[in-house]
C-alpha cells in the first residue's frame, strides 16, 4: 500500500513533497522552527469570497487587457495586507510559549499557519512531532449525536486514533462529569456540559506539540482551573511543547516560560515571559488607547463620551496589587443635567462579576449648576483584587432610566507587587479578592 501511495505522490508532485516520515534526531533540532513566515491577504478579498462564475468568465475575457495594464504598473503591493510578516522563532522541546498582542496583531493568523489551516504567503515553518491544535473547543461536535458518539468523532478530528480514544474514554467521561448523559444527544446538553465534554476530549490529547488559542476562556472558573492544572501536569511529565495564545496575562505568566509579543503582524519582542508581558503592558500604556472613546447611542439624551482607568491617579491599564483604582467617565447631555447616575461592575476574565457600585443607591452630591457635559470620578480606593485581567462595564442614566450601557467598556490588569515588602503576596485561598485585614493578637 505504502509503495503504491509513494508512487502516486511521486508522479503527482515531483517538485514539492508535503509531508515525509523521517528518521531524525529530534533532540538536536528545535521542535518548532518558524522562518520568516508571512501571510498576506488581498485587500478586497471580500469580493473574491463570493466570486461569481460570471466574473471569472468576464475576467478571462479581460485578462489580456489586464496583463497589459500590469506591465505598466508592476507590483501593486498596496492591494496586499500583511496580517503577519517576518516572524521567526525556534522553540525547543518542552517549552511552553505564550503568544500575546492586541486584537488584530496576527496571533490567530500565526496559529492558523502552524495548524495548517491556512498556508503562509512566504517563509516556512517546520513542526517536528505530532501536532494537535485547539483553536476552538468542540470542533466537529454534532448536536444530533450523543455524547459518546461525539467523543469519538471529535477525538478523531483532533487526531486521536480509535484505540487511543477507547483507552481514554472512561477518563474523558469522568473528567467531564457527564456519565449519566453519555447516551443523550448533545443538543439536549446545557452549555456547561457541552463545553466540559468538549474540553475533556481536548485535555486528553497527547500530541508532542499542542497549539491552543484562548480556549481556556470558556467554562466556569472551577473547570478552567482543572484544565490548566491538567495541562501543567502533562507538560511537566512528558515534556510536551505548547504554544498558547491568550489575553489572560496571569495565565501566560503562570504557564509560559517564553513569550512572543506581536503587534500589527510584526514581532515586537520575544523572551522570558515576565519581561515581555511587562513590555506589552507598558507599551500599551503609552498608547492613547488607554482612553476609551464612545459614540452616542441612538436617541440617548445622555451618554458617555469617553472613559479611562487611573491607577494611583495616573492613566494606566495596569494596576499593581493594592493600588488605588479610579474610573474617570466623561459624559455629555442634550439638556443640562445636574445628577447623572453612574454604575459600574468589574468582572474577572472568566466573566464572573466581582464588585460594583451605583450612585443611584448611595448618597452622592449633584452638580451645583446643571451642565451639558462633565466628568465623574469614581474613587474605589485600594482594590483588593488578585492578579489577573478584569473588565469594567458602565451604565449611565438619569431618573428616567439607563441611557448608555457599555459592557466591558474598559479592561485592566492587576499585576503582582510586594505590598508589605515581605517578599510575599496576599494569599486569599483561591478567592478572587484578598481583604486588607487588621489582625490583632492578644494573650488571654
Amino acid at each position: 500500500m505504502r509503495i503504491l501511495l509513494d508512487t502516486i505522490d511521486f508522479y503527482c508532485c515531483p517538485q514539492h513533497i508535503i509531508e515525509r516520515m523521517h528518521f531524525t534526531q529530534t533532540m538536536s533540532k528545535p521542535i518548532i522552527q518558524i522562518e520568516k513566515v508571512g501571510k498576506a491577504y488581498l485587500l478586497g478579498q471580500a469580493d473574491l469570497q463570493h466570486a461569481m462564475f460570471r466574473d471569472v468568465i468576464l475576467g478571462a475575457v479581460k485578462a489580456p487587457y489586464r496583463r497589459l495594464k500590469r506591465l505598466r504598473q508592476p507590483n501593486r503591493n498596496d492591494d496586499l495586507f500583511w496580517a503577519l510578516r517576518n516572524v521567526s522563532l525556534d522553540v525547543q522541546q518542552g517549552d511552553v510559549v505564550g503568544i500575546i498582542g492586541r486584537n488584530g496583531s496576527g496571533k490567530s493568523t500565526l496559529l492558523k499557519i502552524l495548524s495548517r489551516i491556512t498556508e503562509p504567503t512566504e517563509g516556512q515553518a517546520i513542526l517536528r512531532g505530532r501536532v494537535a491544535s485547539l483553536l476552538e473547543v468542540g470542533t466537529g461536535f454534532h448536536p444530533e449525536l450523543t455524547g459518546r458518539e461525539n467523543v469519538y468523532l471529535n477525538g478523531a478530528i483532533l487526531g486521536m486514533s480509535k484505540a487511543e480514544i477507547n483507552l481514554k474514554f472512561d477518563e474523558i467521561v469522568a473528567f467531564a462529569e457527564i456519565e449519566r448523559f453519555l447516551d443523550t444527544q448533545v443538543k439536549r446538553y446545557s452549555s456547561g456540559m457541552y463545553v466540559r465534554l468538549a474540553f475533556a476530549v481536548a485535555a486528553h490529547l497527547e500530541p508532542e506539540i499542542l497549539i491552543i488559542d484562548e480556549v481556556l476562556a470558556v467554562g466556569d472558573a472551577e473547570f478552567q482551573r482543572k484544565c490548566l492544572g491538567k495541562m501543567g501536569e502533562v507538560t511537566k511529565r512528558d515534556g510536551r511543547t505548547i504554544l498558547f495564545v491568550s489575553h489572560n496575562m496571569s495565565a501566560v505568566r503562570a504557564l509560559c516560560s517564553v513569550t512572543l509579543l506581536l503587534d500589527k503582524g510584526r514581532m515586537v519582542a520575544v523572551g522570558p515571559s515576565n519581561d515581555v508581558i511587562e513590555k506589552y503592558l507598558t507599551n500599551d500604556a503609552t498608547k492613547d488607547s488607554l482612553e476609551r472613546h464612545l459614540s452616542r447611542p441612538e436617541h440617548a439624551p445622555l451618554w458617555i463620551t469617553s472613559a479611562c482607568i487611573l491607577a494611583d491617579g495616573k492613566p494606566s491599564s495596569t494596576l499593581p496589587l493594592g493600588a488605588e483604582l479610579t474610573l474617570e467617565i466623561n459624559f455629555a447631555a442634550d439638556t443640562p443635567t445636574a445628577h447623572p447616575r453612574i454604575g459600574f461592575v468589574i468582572s474577572s476574565s472568566d466573566g464572573s462579576r466581582v464588585l460594583g457600585a451605583n450612585n443611584r443607591y448611595q448618597p452622592s452630591k449633584p452638580l451645583e449648576t446643571p451642565s451639558e457635559s462633565g466628568s465623574i470620578l469614581c474613587h474605589l480606593g485600594p482594590v483588593p483584587l488578585m492578579p489577573g485581567s478584569y473588565a469594567v462595564s458602565l451604565w449611565l442614566g438619569d431618573q428616567a432610566g439607563d441611557w448608555h450601557v457599555v459592557a466591558d467598556a474598559l479592561t485592566f490588569m492587576v499585576v503582582q507587587r510586594d505590598i508589605w515588602g515581605l517578599g510575599r503576596i496576599p494569599h486569599p485561598d483561591g478567592t478572587s479578592l484578598w481583604w486588607p485585614t487588621e489582625f490583632n493578637l492578644s494573650p488571654m
Partner: protein, 273 residues
C-alpha cells in the same frame, strides 16, 4: 534515533498527500458513520426511506416511461427491473453529487478551525451515500426474486462495476465540492446538472436508442457505461464494450482532474470559506 513526523508549511504546496490520508483513515470512518447516523435521525420511518425512495421512483418511471412513453427495455425482462437496474447506480451518483457538492460549504466552520485531510469531507459524504447504495442493491435482489428472474453467472462483475461507479462519483464530487467553495453559483447549478445528466444517462431508456456508431460517445458520461454494464451483469443483456471502455477512461480522467483541482484549491478553502 526516534521516528518523528516532520510537517513543513510553506507557500504553494502541491501533491495528493495520500499517505497522510491513509494514516488518518480512521477519521474518514468516523465521518462516514456520522453522516449515516444523522441522515435518518428524527425521521419516523428511519432507514426504511432508503428502501421506499427507490421503490417509489420505480413505480413512477414504470408508469411514465414504461407505459405512456412505451420505451422498450433492451432484453427479455420487465420494464420495472430494467429501470431499477439503472436507478440503483444512478441514485447513488445523484445523491452523492448533491450532498458531496455541498459538503465543504456546509462544513466550513470546521475547515477554519482544525486541519485534517480535506478530501475526507467529500469522501465522507459519498461514503454515507454508499450505505444507501448497498440497501438499494438488496431492494433490487428482492425485486429480482419477485419477478422470478435468475441472474446469470456474470453477476460477479457487479462489485467491479460498483467500484468504478464509486471512483467516477468521487471524481465528480471532488471537482464540484471544490468549485462550490470558490463559486457559490454551483449551489444552483448542481441540482440542474444532476437532473440534466439523468436524461443523458441510460436510466429510463436503453443505450440501443442511439445509433450504434455513436454509442461510445455516451460513455463520456461515466455513469452511462456502468449503468449499461450493470444491466449486462445482472439481467444478462449483451455487453456494450465501446460505451463501457469510454466510461472507464472518463472515470480515470474525472478522478485525476477532480482530485488534483481539489488539492490545488484546498489551501485557499480556509481563507475564502
Amino acid at each position: 534515533m526516534e521516528q518523528a513526523i516532520e510537517t513543513v508549511m510553506r507557500p504553494n504546496q502541491r501533491g495528493l498527500a495520500l499517505k497522510e490520508a491513509y494514516a488518518r483513515r480512521e477519521l474518514l470512518y468516523f465521518l462516514i458513520l456520522r453522516d449515516i447516523k444523522i441522515r435518518y435521525k428524527q425521521t419516523v420511518l428511519g432507514v426504511a426511506w432508503a428502501v421506499l425512495v427507490p421503490m417509489m421512483q420505480v413505480v413512477i418511471f414504470s408508469v411514465v416511461f414504461g407505459r405512456y412513453a412505451a420505451i422498450k427495455p433492451d432484453g427479455n425482462y420487465p420494464y420495472p427491473l430494467f429501470v431499477l437496474a439503472g436507478l440503483v447506480p444512478w441514485t447513488f451518483f445523484a445523491q452523492s453529487v448533491t450532498q458531496g457538492g455541498q459538503s465543504l460549504v456546509n462544513q466550513q466552520q470546521m475547515l477554519t478551525k482544525v486541519y485534517f485531510p480535506r478530501l475526507f469531507v467529500p469522501t465522507g459524504a459519498v461514503g454515507g451515500c454508499f450505505v444507501d447504495f448497498l440497501i438499494s442493491l438488496v431492494v433490487f435482489a428482492v425485486a429480482l426474486a419477485w419477478y422470478r428472474f435468475t441472474p446469470s453467472w456474470q453477476v460477479i462483475f457487479v462489485p467491479i462495476l460498483a467500484l468504478f461507479t464509486i471512483a467516477a462519483t468521487l471524481g465528480v464530487v471532488y471537482l464540484l465540492s471544490a468549485l462550490t467553495v470558490t463559486y457559490r453559483d454551483f449551489r444552483h447549478i448542481v441540482p440542474v446538472l444532476v437532473q440534466a445528466l439523468m436524461y443523458l444517462s441510460p436510466v429510463v431508456y436503453p443505450v440501443q436508442l442511439f445509433p450504434a456508431r455513436y454509442q461510445w460517445l455516451l460513455g463520456l458520461n461515466p455513469l452511462s457505461g456502468f449503468i449499461d454494464g450493470f444491466r449486462s451483469a445482472v439481467l444478462g443483456k449483451p455487453w456494450n464494450f465501446p460505451t463501457l471502455l469510454t466510461s472507464v477512461a472518463s472515470t480515470f480522467a474525472f478522478l485525476l482532474v477532480g482530485a488534483m483541482y481539489f488539492r490545488a484549491t484546498e489551501r485557499r478553502f480556509a481563507d475564502i470559506a
